[in-house]
């Protein structure tokens, strides 16, 4: 299937648009057709409807890719007749009728079981197993276990035996702890992490209640978007304050209430232990309904032009994700209220990278090749690297046959000639290859050795393949409907294509393939960002290394905007805590309170300034 309409428009567009576009540095303003504009324009058009994984829009984008692959002479992978490689994923979860029954203790007269139902009093956690469990309860405080490797003693289970019990824990982390303690505990307070800790100690089930001293007090937890195809090995649900009150009430001890229990724990004193509630026997019947859909990776290859391939690791893979957020219905949209529900075009994220793969493929299709070139377009990236993970789990070309994997994710918004190359630590070969290619290309390179990036390069690093990712930085239109094709910097996108093609050709022709080097992962943040409950409306610029947190923009109408922060400001201190990098910033955010103004120090044009920022609630 072709796109006659789009190609026609695209043929006329470059001339007009390149006259309108701001000329890049040092480049003559010439009305030449770019390598990438037609691709981006097609892939980010209304017709692809935001390219949500498993949607007709994704299918339309895939059709375009296949037509382009055929045009440049790429073929379906050996032994296949189709470019599409389908995989299943969980497109959504909902509670299908979870119930919780508080049974009466044996021999207790005049007691009737109390049954609670979805949604107000009980709701399954999205990762729960659909398995009915009945057991006595143990209250385990915040249910947080800090690994011993962190040299910070905090284990909610230290004195408790929860084997074959149902564990009741508080959501979040001790509310009144000092900032440093909070910064540590918050990393291990994610619900999945708490479920894992309970399961590892033999618990059959997990109940979570939001304490009266926390945000969203007493409410059940909305079911989050979770792409896991199966459960977590434990029955898990959140309960309301009335259910918790009934459970604590069964003890018949007026001093033992949820509020009192939380108060005792909120200083994060590690010696405050939980306790068994043997008077409460709970039957929990979680019902999580998972909607399964099928998305497709698009896989093609350019066979080696030398006939028989005699080099080791005879494949070089080049890829990008082509899916995006559809209309932004899965919780990862940053659209403002006015824009919510509109098409998220994803021109930069990642029509730009997808176009780069097509354009690099086209260059390589015209060159002699000692290796086969694998061209890979991933779906499901925005939902958690699903497409590339599915591929790596069942690779069509054995992973040990790959000399390298080169990825593009968001390469269309270059500013000031700055190009970030990530995962350079995955092979000692990259330094020389990048150095040589960049002498002609002339980018202001930022090299990041870390391959644990939120893009498909992470899947290949995990699989032991030397890899690289190209990235031009985030921006105010990131994950919004306003990420449109007219905002792409095509001149510099073309330069990235030529740069990457030079690197790819070098690898394609190397006698000895690059050797993989394992990069140690930075301290595992455990529960990740689950602890961040505040919304500041800042858009960090991760592509420029500065001391502090450089803002590439602020979200209009958000707290940072209201505080007068703007693009180019560098946040150096929050509530008295020095900020030297984005990790410091994340940890600092975790300790803030919603609605409580804090002092923020920042530098603007080298001058230190102060403002007060009042965080809002993260939805």
């Amino acid at each position: 299937m072709t796109y006659p309409h789009v190609r026609h428009v695209a043929a006329a567009l470059p001339l007009v648009l390149s006259l309108l576009a701001t000329p890049g540095w040092g480049q003559p303003v010439a009305a030449v057709a770019t390598r990438t504009r037609a691709h981006v324009t097609a892939l980010a058009s209304d017709r692809t409807d935001g390219r949500m994984s498993g949607s007709p829009g994704e299918q339309a984008a895939g059709d375009y890719l296949i037509a382009q692959l055929q045009r440049i002479g790429a073929r379906p992978l050996p032994g296949r007749s189709d470019f599409r490689a389908p995989f299943e994923f969980t497109a959504g979860t909902k509670d299908g009728g979870t119930t919780l029954t508080l049974e009466c203790a044996a021999g207790r007269a005049g007691c009737a079981p109390r049954r609670f139902a979805v949604d107000r009093d009980v709701r399954a956690l999205s990762f729960s197993d659909n398995v009915e469990v009945t057991a006595d309860l143990v209250f385990a405080g915040y249910g947080i276990v800090v690994p011993e490797s962190q040299n910070f003693g905090y284990d909610s289970y230290a004195t408790l035996d929860v084997k074959d019990k149902i564990v009741l824990v508080l959501r979040y982390f001790p509310e009144d702890a000092d900032p440093q303690t909070k910064a540590i505990l918050t990393r291990y307070s994610d619900l999945r992490y708490k479920a894992m800790a309970a399961r590892q100690r033999g618990a059959k089930g997990l109940l979570v209640v939001t304490g009266p001293n926390s945000p969203n007090a007493g409410e059940t937890i909305p079911m989050s978007f979770d792409t896991a195809l199966s459960g977590s090995g434990i029955a898990a649900a959140s309960i309301s304050a009335p259910v918790a009150d009934a459970i604590f009430g069964s003890l018949g001890d007026a001093s033992k209430t949820l509020a009192a229990a939380q108060r005792a724990l909120d200083s994060a004193n590690p010696h405050v232990a939980g306790f068994a509630i043997p008077t409460a026997t709970v039957r929990l019947t979680p019902v999580v309904t998972r909607e399964t859909r099928t998305a497709s990776n698009i896989l093609a290859y350019l066979p080696a032009s030398t006939g028989t391939v005699s080099v080791a690791r005879p494949w070089v893979a080049i890829g990008a994700h082509y899916d995006h957020l559809g209309h932004g219905d899965h919780g990862n949209s940053l659209a403002t209220k006015d824009d919510a529900g509109k098409i998220h075009h994803g021109a930069d994220d990642n029509a730009s990278g997808t176009s780069a793969v097509l354009a690099v493929g086209e260059i390589l299709s015209q060159a002699t090749r000692k290796r086969n070139v694998l061209l890979q377009f991933w779906s499901g990236e925005e939902l958690g690297l699903l497409g590339s993970a599915a591929y790596v789990n069942r690779p069509a070309v054995a992973l040990d046959q790959l000399a390298a994997y080169i990825n593009f994710d968001m390469v269309g918004r270059m500013q000031d000639n700055k190009l970030t190359v990530q995962a350079t630590g995955t092979s000692d070969a990259w330094g020389r290859v990048i150095e040589q290619a960049n002498i002609a290309a002339g980018f202001d390179l930022l090299l990041q050795p870390d391959p644990y990036q939120p893009t498909d390069v992470a899947s290949f690093n995990q699989a032991g393949v030397p890899c690289l990712n190209f990235f031009t930085g985030t921006h105010v239109d990131y994950h919004k409907p306003s990420d449109t094709a007219d905002k792409i910097n095509y001149e510099d996108l073309d330069r990235i294509v030529e740069f990457a093609a030079t690197i790819a050709r070098r690898i394609v022709d190397l006698e000895t393939a690059p050797t993989f080097t394992k990069v140690e992962q930075q301290a595992d943040p455990g529960g990740g960002r689950a602890g961040v409950r505040v919304f500041t409306g800042t858009i960090p610029d991760y592509s420029t290394e500065v001391k502090g947190l450089l803002l590439s923009g602020v979200i209009g109408g958000g707290p940072a905007d209201a505080a007068g922060l703007q693009k180019g400001d560098i946040i150096v201190e929050i509530a008295g805590q020095a900020i030297t990098n984005s990790y410091d910033y994340t940890y600092a955010l975790e300790t803030l309170k919603i609605g409580v103004g804090i002092n923020v120090a920042f530098t603007r044009n080298g001058e230190r300034k102060q403002t007060t920022l009042t965080p809002g609630a993260r939805k």
Binding site: T424, E435, I439, N605
Partner: protein, 387 residues
């Protein structure tokens, strides 16, 4: 090479400051802010970019007379932890080593009208391999030595022929001979040498000085391109080094440390050592001067704005005006060298942080008109405030 290693001599002289000084070279320094920095730098520099990637550190890039190549030093040779000399072709991106891979090398320079490239090397020292292995074992042990330049007394100047690959030894004196560069006609070499510490009987005080900081004995020498006629031009106590000919070969610009090795300034003199003129007077460490090919101004590095914060400055070649700041980015900036056409600047910087925090070679477009304008409107030179 002090063209690159300003910190060392000083730090050796004053116990306890070593860490601070070397940190200045090793890490992005304090002061200056990144966001506004880009804008201010763009007055003079555009298309700023990192040229070298491979290896722990690279620096001291000097242009070929046709402006198509750079010769530089880099720690990237497998089995040798020290600098070796490489030539980078700006058209193809090819990089090839021209030193023989053995020992320590530094401070290369293209000879105009010739196929020769000079650099300093210790490879004739029979202990070279042993020293390399010891250093590698030290690094493998996980320990990190403070960056230091040891002024190896075996350091001598060689001329490498690109046609034959032959190395011709130009100096043999005991003591560090390095920081050498050719005159524009390719007939002369100016260098810095510490031979004065070894060719006479030292007083007790001088002997102590030699043990703590041999760079105190460094003086500027002139010789013919074949190494003959070696003549001493300076006699002032304290480290005289980093000499280069000016644009027409009529003068030499260099940097002179005071006796304590704490303050350095840019100086200029005639080829016979007369008319020694002080060009800068910041009262800080101002060094690595190189005259722009127009002859209108000298570009140099100084830590005037903070001990750890080396930035580039320009000053009129006669030194009558107050210098003008060029760079505004965190991290070491030094060893600036304009291209022969005066339109580009190569320098050594730690600004990229991360894997580049030990210093790598950078390149940018140079706005000569803006520089002339800045020099023209600069106020007359001020002397530093006395503490």
């Amino acid at each position: 090479m002090i063209r690159a290693r300003v910190g060392t001599g000083v730090s050796l002289a004053v116990a306890g400051t070593l860490a601070v000084l070397t940190a200045a070279v090793a890490q992005p320094g304090a002061g200056g802010s990144a966001a506004g920095a880009g804008a201010q730098e763009r007055d003079f520099l555009s298309r700023v970019r990192r040229l070298t990637v491979e290896g722990r550190r690279s620096g001291e890039g000097y242009w070929s007379p046709d402006g198509r190549r750079l010769v530089f030093q880099s720690e990237r040779e497998p089995g040798n932890p020290f600098y070796q000399i490489y030539v980078l072709d700006m058209t193809s991106g090819d990089i090839s080593r021209i030193s023989n891979g053995l020992g320590k090398t530094t401070c290369a320079f293209f000879r105009p009208n010739s196929d020769q490239i000079l650099f300093s090397s210790t490879h004739h020292d029979p202990r070279s391999k042993q020293l390399q292995d010891e250093e590698l074992a030290f690094r493998a042990s996980g320990k990190e030595r403070r960056y230091s330049w040891d002024y190896d007394t075996e350091t001598d100047i060689y001329a490498y022929s690109e046609k034959t690959g032959d190395l011709t030894r130009l100096t043999t004196a005991k003591g560090y001979d390095a920081e050498a560069s050719y005159s524009p006609d390719g007939q002369w070499i100016v260098l810095s040498s510490m031979r004065d510490a070894y060719n006479r009987t030292l007083t007790a005080g001088e002997q102590k000085q030699l043990e703590t900081d041999p760079s105190y004995f460094a003086e500027i020498y002139l010789m013919k391109a074949d190494g003959s006629g070696q003549t001493r031009l300076t006699t002032t106590p304290g480290y005289d080094g980093g000499p280069f000919f000016n644009h027409d070969g009529s003068r030499i610009v260099w940097r002179r440390f005071d006796e304590n090795g704490l303050i350095a300034n840019v100086w200029s003199m005639k080829l016979d050592g007369s008319d020694q003129t002080q060009i800068t007077d910041f009262g800080s460490m101002s060094w690595a001067p190189y005259e722009h090919p127009s002859g209108s101004y000298i570009i140099f590095a100084s830590n005037k704005l903070g001990f750890e914060n080396f930035e580039l400055f320009i000053v009129d070649s006669a030194g009558t005006k107050e210098p003008v700041r060029v760079t505004y980015t965190d991290g070491f900036d030094g060893l600036p060298v304009p291209s022969p056409d005066g339109r580009q600047l190569a320098w050594t910087s730690a600004r990229s942080g991360g894997s580049g925090s030990a210093g790598q070679l950078f390149l940018a477009q140079w706005n000569h008109e803006k520089a002339l304008e800045a020099i023209r409107t600069a106020p007359p030179r001020q002397s530093p405030k006395k503490p």
